[in-house]
């Protein structure tokens, strides 16, 4: 279990770093997929089976393809050539991110979380379905509405302007 955690954690961090550092956008997406798939593996390791599969289904199956389509639709030679990847104020951005991460890690390490590992809570698919249909039915409906709105919005935004009228 320990080895599995460390391998997956290394994959997550390496994938994330590479996704942010590589030059080619498609490579960045592929590295992002490494991170997200490893994250799904971590969810499985933590006993959240349903979430892990949903993560793969949504991110690898949908979001990756969306980003890839966006990359191909906005292709220009600007990024392929040698040029600065980062914005002029990149040092500030990295500094802020480093500061935030430092604060987070410091507070995590300083916190008094009990070190024990409790029994894994059961999360069977039937339970999740039951909950979704009873207690969480309102959020579920809201998400349905939100996704519909997002889809219609995305279609209208991405439509060529002359066809929009």
């Amino acid at each position: 279990m320990q080895a599995a955690f460390f391998i997956i954690a290394a994959l997550i961090v390496i994938g994330g770093l590479a996704a942010m550092l590589v030059r080619k956008l498609v490579h960045a997406v592929l590295w992002l997929m490494v991170t997200l798939a490893s994250l799904a593996a971590l969810f499985l390791l933590l006993g959240a089976q349903f979430v892990g599969f949903a993560q793969i289904l949504v991110y690898v199956g949908a979001v990756a393809i969306l980003i890839v389509f966006a990359i191909l639709l906005t292709r220009n030679s600007e990024w392929a050539k040698a040029g600065r990847l980062a914005s002029p104020s990149w040092l500030v951005g990295v500094g802020i991110a480093g500061l935030a991460t430092g604060c987070l890690i410091a507070s995590i390490l300083a916190s008094s979380i009990p070190p024990g590992v409790p029994v894994p809570p059961a999360a069977s698919v039937a339970d999740i379905g039951q909950k979704l249909m009873t207690e969480y039915v309102l959020p579920l409906e809201a998400v349905g509405l939100l996704l519909t709105a997002a889809m219609i919005g995305a279609v209208i935004i991405a439509m060529p302007e002359d066809k929009r009228g």
Partner: protein
């Protein structure tokens, strides 16, 4: 030691009342003789090895059946040179593929080009692990088996994109874009028609879905989902979407060799091409296995007094029928056009699948009705929906008299 134990066990195993147990017992016997910590590892490895061997052999047989069957459909004998009746043709093909030069274009992204076939095949092999092949013969009984199947199936889209993009070839990219558009469009009716089954059974586990289809109505008609009206409609929608999902003819636009060379496979040759080819066949087997599990009762025998036949034989028998239907369709139907393909997915299959879910809901809440009436009402609703769709479709396709501008 292990071997001797197996030998001594064999007669005992053959005398078992239930023939389905043979394979399970065999594996248990082998694993039993191993030291404790190794049991899990070896048990998994045996399962993996059997899966790869069985489906690898099935792949070889399928290519042969496909070539022979297509030949017969076109009144040709098909391959008949290598071995008696050409049965060794798959070996010859494999040797040819293996010794061919592996060409990588100079402009290609080598790493992605290399990874694409692996990313295609590995998830498909994972998908094999949740299908119940027989009574007790399921590699992993996952609680969310259906979700797992579709989740790993999603990776094939990424693999197709990687293959198309890495070649730096416009035909590859065109083929990949076509394939992704097609796969995403047809995944929706595929999942929606699966939802009806999941809704009726009340479980995402494929083992439970098969178990729910056991038994017979009036002792004759098996309780398979396909014999319910929503199951029949769902099966048809599922199969059409499945053919599109596995990029088979008539939905083989991504590889349309008369238009875009070989689509995303243009820059692949030799062993990598063979791996892609294998991945596509494996995908076909996996999705056929899912269709059998969801609608055709999995490993259940079609008639009650045929229960003595080992259950996995029923599963693979059904799989072979599916294989033949795939080949038959390929031999019959011409390739669709891209706009027809998209229209078909979004304007025909999607409404049908949604209406089918509604019909399944009605079926669910009319459990108290007499059987035939319930059946007729639900079937009528689906037929009405189909007729309505047909009318709108036919209207848009009405032929007008052709006018000639220059000839009088």
């Amino acid at each position: 030691m292990t071997f001797m134990a197996m030998i001594t066990c064999l007669p005992h195993m053959l005398l078992l009342a239930n023939p389905d147990e043979w394979l399970v017992r065999l594996k248990q016997t082998i694993v039993h003789w191993l030291p404790g910590p190794w049991q899990f590892v070896i048990s998994s490895l045996i399962t993996i090895a059997v899966l790869i061997a069985v489906f690898g052999a099935l792949f070889a047989v399928a290519t042969l059946i496909e070539r022979k069957g297509l030949g017969r459909i076109q009144n040709r004998p098909g391959p008949n040179r290598v071995g008696p009746y050409g049965v060794l043709q798959p070996m010859a093909d494999a040797v040819k593929m293996l010794i061919k030069e592996d060409v990588v274009p100079r402009a290609a992204d080598r790493v992605v080009h290399f990874l694409a076939p692996l990313v295609l095949v590995a998830p498909v092999m994972l998908a094999f692990s949740v299908i119940p092949y027989g009574q007790g013969l399921v590699p992993i009984n996952l609680d969310a088996g259906v979700l797992f199947f579709f989740a790993v199936g999603a990776a094939s889209e990424l693999a197709v994109f990687m293959a198309g993009w890495s070649g730096h070839n416009k035909y590859s990219l065109l083929g990949a874009m076509r394939a992704i558009a097609q796969m995403i469009s047809y995944e929706i009716p595929l999942v929606l028609s699966t939802v009806t089954v999941v809704m009726m059974v009340g479980s995402l586990s494929l083992v439970q879905i098969v178990a729910a289809q056991g038994g017979y109505w009036w002792g004759v008609i098996p309780r398979w989902n396909i014999f319910a009206p929503w199951g029949l409609a769902g099966f048809v929608v599922f199969m059409i979407a499945a053919i599109a999902e596995s990029n088979r003819s008539p939905f083989d636009l991504p590889e349309g060799e008369s238009e875009i060379i070989a689509g995303f496979l243009t820059e692949y040759s030799g062993f990598k091409y063979a791996v892609f080819f294998m991945g596509e066949y494996f995908g076909m087997f996996a999705i056929s296995g899912l269709a059998i599990t969801l609608f055709l009762g999995g490993w259940h025998a079609p008639l009650p007094y045929l229960g003595w036949v080992p259950s996995f034989l029923w599963f693979f028998g059904k799989l072979f029928i599916f294989l033949f239907v795939f080949i038959w369709l390929r031999g019959t139907l011409p390739r669709l056009r891209m706009d027809q393909l998209m229209n078909y997915a979004w304007k025909c299959l999607l409404p049908l699948a949604l209406i089918n879910i509604g019909v399944a809901v009605i079926w669910r809440f009319t459990a108290g009705w007499p059987g035939p009436l319930r059946w007729l009402v639900c079937a009528l609703l689906i037929v009405l929906a189909f007729v309505w769709l047909e009318k709108t479709w036919m209207k848009s396709r009405e032929l007008k008299p052709r006018t000639y501008h220059y000839a009088s």
